[in-house]
């Protein structure tokens, strides 16, 4: 078992099978030593776990958990694409979009759900830059969408 998968297991995180790509886009695209990951949503086995804006429908705390789930789904997509999560040398950037009521300004705490999880798994290499913003509405009504860019070693 790879080092990162062992770390995930020790935290009780079970990577789901990533959903099959729908439409014309793909979950991951690698160029040189960067892997780009499509915007991930808080979905488990086809079921959306957090729907609606913060805070009128979903609390900031639940939204942070949903952001963490987006990051987990991103790792699942990367495992499928890279073959081994140990090829990830570091997390570079997150784009975090939070479905927000007008006047909600706590997007950073929501995004921390993803950011802190990634540092927990990857340590210092997991520290990344981030843009967290509010969105009037998101695909399928999800509460949060997270896109990722990671640095990876090239296939030997």
């Amino acid at each position: 078992m790879s080092r990162i998968e062992a770390k995930l297991s020790s935290l009780g995180v079970d990577l789901p099978d990533p959903p099959a790509p729908v439409a014309a886009y793909v979950p991951v695209r690698v160029v040189g030593d960067l892997a780009y990951v499509s915007g991930q949503i808080p979905m488990i086995r086809g079921k959306i776990m957090a729907k609606g804006p913060v805070p009128s429908i979903v609390s900031p705390e639940d939204a942070a958990q949903a952001a963490r789930l987006c990051a987990i789904n991103g790792l699942a997509a990367l495992r499928q694409s890279l073959g081994d999560l140990d090829r990830i040398k570091g997390i570079v950037r997150l784009g975090v979009f939070v479905a927000s009521d007008a006047g909600f300004t706590g997007q950073p705490a929501v995004a921390n759900g993803a950011s802190e999880f990634l540092v927990e798994i990857f340590g210092e290499a997991g520290r990344h830059v981030r843009a967290a913003v509010g969105s009037v509405s998101l695909p399928l009504g999800v509460t949060v969408e997270v896109e990722m860019t990671v640095e990876c070693s090239q296939v030997p």
Copy 2:
């Protein structure tokens, strides 16, 4: 005529002259083997083809056509910058912002207008990662804005 331009012609797509850069930004910037393209809007010869949010003003179907037009304008900008569209080795990433009424959750279908067009033109190399989100309002009132990152061969 280049291979990609022939493909565009076969589909009846006529690349417009890209609008001259306004203000301090540029349509395309190349770093190494990546070309970054500014957010494109659904404009033809100075006229905006889709204005207002989805679905109250613009239908999802018309918004998807507008997203396709954004992608066409992105290719026009790339042709001007790269000299030849055959230098594009693949589409890496789209950022798709859809002007959305609160509660509209069909951004993926809108974004497919751009994504499917690019796969039609570039085949497998056109498959990309994507973040599609709702936006409360966009520049000049457009219905959709699409930014692109593409992989390209370096100038010989």
Copy 3:
């Protein structure tokens, strides 16, 4: 004094000490010859200089000044990370999120506050691609958030 810092001084721009990183993300991450900068907000010494949407609370002109301040804070973060702003070879991309009332469509003029400043400082090398969009609400209630990607020379 570095060339770029001299240019900043000649314009009366004093780079602030960047705020210490909060939570799990970092202000700058360098991969190869690209430096990614986290979304910057219009803050000086812990005080937010522009809060609320455009135009109901903040005028487009004041929002453009706030975008300029975001760019200044981005340079401050880059100076701390790179050691010397002269390592910046060019500005590649800005992502500009403008807190917007429904119907506000002047995001480009707001974003110009950041774009024109960067061209003033870096000349032609400061010209970049850009995506400027409206956001229903932003972290801490700020009027504008700007993320940056820059090209830099690698550490010798």
